[in-house]
């Protein structure tokens, strides 16, 4: 039978939608690991990028973080983390968090740098203090690119969480890794489709959320998301 027909059959089999190896359970595992890592990464990375970008100094620090982030292979990071911290969620979340940081630092740095200097001068002239200027003028205008950085990180984390199956983690990666080990190409393909759809849904879903949350007026004057710095970790 054609492999695609087998994959369709795999998806329509109710057995694959229940139990501890079912799609809903694996989806929940994948989303939980990814969400926790991205949220922890945001708390660490966004303040660093925003402060560096606001002061405009240490630009080479932001650039070096992005270079180092690109040079460290995500696969190696996962395996090293596994060797140091052992089994469980901790090594996965630690390495995924580390991966989430560089795209957010770099993009939030660029986002803050690119805010129109005239607008900053105007804010200063109107008597804004520094903190108020950052919070009420610069960050709102930087939001589209800040969000683009978060999306980049989230997509990288969702992609790399797939590899967590190699260190005995859950998530959709299980189908791919088990499919490879068992020469079960149907399971392999089904897992690949689930992972690809989840990564695309992460990118598009967060973009849609941003469109709902960010007022149109802000988007008109803000730093365009096309300045996004690309990352590909997995």
């Amino acid at each position: 039978m054609d492999i695609l027909a087998k994959v369709v059959q795999w998806f329509t089999d109710p057995a694959h939608w229940a139990g501890s190896d079912g799609v809903p359970t694996r989806l929940a595992e994948h989303l939980r690991l990814s969400a926790e890592s991205v949220l922890i990464g945001m708390v660490i990375a966004l303040p660093i990028g925003i402060v560096l970008g606001h002061y405009g100094r240490f630009g080479n620090v932001a650039i070096n973080i992005s270079n180092v982030g690109r040079a460290i292979p995500s696969f190696a990071l996962l395996v090293l983390s596994f060797q140091v911290f052992g089994l469980g969620d901790a090594p996965i979340i630690i390495s995924l968090t580390a991966l989430a940081i560089p795209p957010m630092v770099t993009n939030s740095y660029v986002a803050m740098r690119e805010v129109d200097p005239d607008i900053k001068d105007a804010a200063r002239g109107m008597g804004y203090r520094e903190l108020a200027q950052i919070l009420r003028i610069e960050i709102p205008l930087a939001v589209p690119l800040l969000m683009a950085g978060i999306r980049t990180s989230a997509v990288q984390v969702v992609a790399t969480a797939t590899l967590a199956a190699l260190i005995a983690g859950g998530g959709f990666g299980r189908y791919i890794i088990d499919g490879l080990a068992q020469f079960d190409y149907t399971k392999l393909m089904a897992g690949a489709i689930l992972v690809a759809v989840l990564a695309l849904a992460t990118e598009l879903g967060l973009a849609a959320l941003e469109r709902v949350l960010v007022p149109r007026g802000i988007r008109l004057m803000s730093v365009p998301a096309t300045k996004r710095v690309a990352f590909k970790a997995a």
């Binding site: 040079a71 460290i72 797939t162 590899l163 490879l180 392999l188 690949a192 992972v195 695309l200 690309a230």
Partner: protein, 221 residues
Amino acid sequence: MAAPVFLDYVDPWINWDWLSNHVPLVLGYLGAHVELTAIAVGVALAISLPIGIVAQRRRTWRGPVLTLFGIFYTIPSIALFALLIPYTGLGTLTSEIGLVGYAMLILTRNVIVGLDAVPRDVIDAANGMGYRPFARLLRVELPLALPTIFAGVRIATVTTIGLITITAVIGQDSLGQLILTGLTENFHTPLVVGTALSILLAFVADLALAFGQRFAVPWAR
């Protein structure tokens, strides 16, 4: 009661005996890693340059081209490899399709951005000097866009070197095989050696390209 001696054995991060006995193996993987990178970035550049030039000239192409590459870029590499395996098998062809595709987004985007940044005055001056469009592209616009294109090549190279380690999972030879061995045999040395060499290779390649850029593009300082 004394524990058996072998239980006291702690796996060091680097076992120099193992390393000195496995130099040819490690160098072989390093060579394969360099070869995979060179092919991926070379092929991607050969495809991206014409696509980027055409997309920059025709406004209607730009959006669709970048969106299409962007969607491809979002697909996790392991998922892409898995989707290709039933058709292109385990190993090099499958690996290179993914690596070339990912490098293409970075390179095409930088070709477009680089050509966009050529000042209008310069193009007018070139037209006034009687350049035909193709000669103007070759002798005026591309040289001015070259620093941006070079920057894209550097990012694509470093990204590709990191991504290649994942191809070990689908049986491709590279430094990733050392990382995978470290995992499956619970043995630190190949893991550390593979990781360190991969990071080192990325930095050396980036430096070499930066150095090459100074010679190839002296007009950009």
